[in-house]
Symmetry: C2
Subunit: 230 residues, 2 copies
């Protein structure tokens, strides 16, 4: 596809990053650890579920995270990268995200599962737009909708439509999720040069990254509205 | 495939049970709830893992349980059966099995994941041998090895080969797992007439069920030996 690696200097015409860029393995590794962390978060949040149906919904979402993880593991093996060592540098930031946004109710769990996954998907898919098509396909595949959002949307809407108090609490919760996600994303980028370079290449420049965070805010607001949180 | 529903009276020539037998949906439902219960048990046991690799191994096994669950859900939907209602009667016995065999160490978790899955697979696959081929294929598919046993075997053998104390403790643990599994399997059969009829049909008669439990004991002993527990 004629991917050139010469970095662009304007945010309006970012370069397609070649599959061989060292940041690609880093990108796969951070997403892979994200899947593991999300798996355990979802499994743990099931304790709040008022029904077997809710427990099954969370287990299905967690199962989908693991099938995405296997795709990333295969992609890393193809590159000769040892996945456990590769994931290690990202544990702290991702664990910190989950520790600072541990749900305390069933509805908080559901909003987090929906909104948190969405924030991550927005971030990585925007980056994927500027990656070699083969790499982009892996990223899009593992960040695709897991097909359980309908359940979450129905459960959350039903409650917030009749409880302004719950609605207010969950709106604050959603804001916190976005804030913590962006904070930890910045830590991750500050920590790993190759990944940071890859993100800068895909965004054009630092102003491009700021613009990306702004677009994530817009998408987040739309997603909250789908849940009745607007 | 010429499946006849006339029950056989000798244990040596059991009848092939037709796909339309009402016990088939019950069989799918009890296995489905088994997958959910195993999912949450594995996810919870990850707290004992000394390494990220161990956490990933358990999460992968749990993910495989969910992919099996989806197969069973589809099979039940095909039969017009509401899965949550269908699973409900089996919650108590399966939850009781897990409550009475909650691991307290990492090695107990691993032995349980390996040996417990094996016991269930022996039980259901022997039954599957006498079911309509289409039904049997679903059962065998969802009880297939999840491909993580190598990890468990390596981890357990390594410890028991150098610690006779650990070996003794884990041998008792294995015996308890088999005992509790058979106890709860009997409760399940005593509770549901259609499922009990299906199992009796597949085993020939009540003596055939006793013979099935004996064969499960033999297979269990072999499986323990693979772990170095003999």
């Amino acid at each position: 596809m004629g991917a050139e690696s010469s970095p662009s200097t304007t945010s309006s015409s970012p370069t397609l990053v070649p599959a061989g860029h060292p940041g690609v393995a880093e990108l796969f590794a951070v997403i892979a650890y994200g899947e593991i962390a999300a798996f355990y978060r979802l499994a743990d949040d099931a304790k709040f579920s008022p029904s077997l149906r809710g427990r099954v919904a969370l287990a299905s979402m967690a199962g989908a995270e693991m099938s995405h993880f296997e795709t990333l593991r295969a992609a890393l093996v193809d590159r000769g990268v040892e996945i456990y060592a590769a994931m290690e540098p990202y544990r702290q930031a991702l664990d910190a995200y989950h520790a600072s946004t541990t749900p305390s109710t069933w509805l908080e769990s559901l909003v987090k599962a929906y909104v948190g996954d969405g924030i991550a998907a927005d971030f990585y898919c925007e980056i994927a737009d500027r990656l070699d098509p083969e790499v982009a396909a892996v990223v899009r595949d593992v960040l695709a909708e897991t097909g359980h959002s309908e359940f979450v949307v129905r459960e959350v809407r039903e409650v917030v439509e009749r409880s302004p108090l719950q609605k207010d609490r969950l709106m604050l919760w959603g804001r916190r999720l976005l804030g913590e996600a962006i904070t930890q994303a910045q830590y991750v980028l500050a920590q790993n040069e190759e990944l940071a370079e890859l993100v800068i290449l895909t965004c054009g420049d630092l102003a491009g990254i700021a613009a990306l965070f702004d677009r994530m805010q817009v998408e987040h607001t739309k997603r909250m509205a789908v849940l009745g949180l607007h």
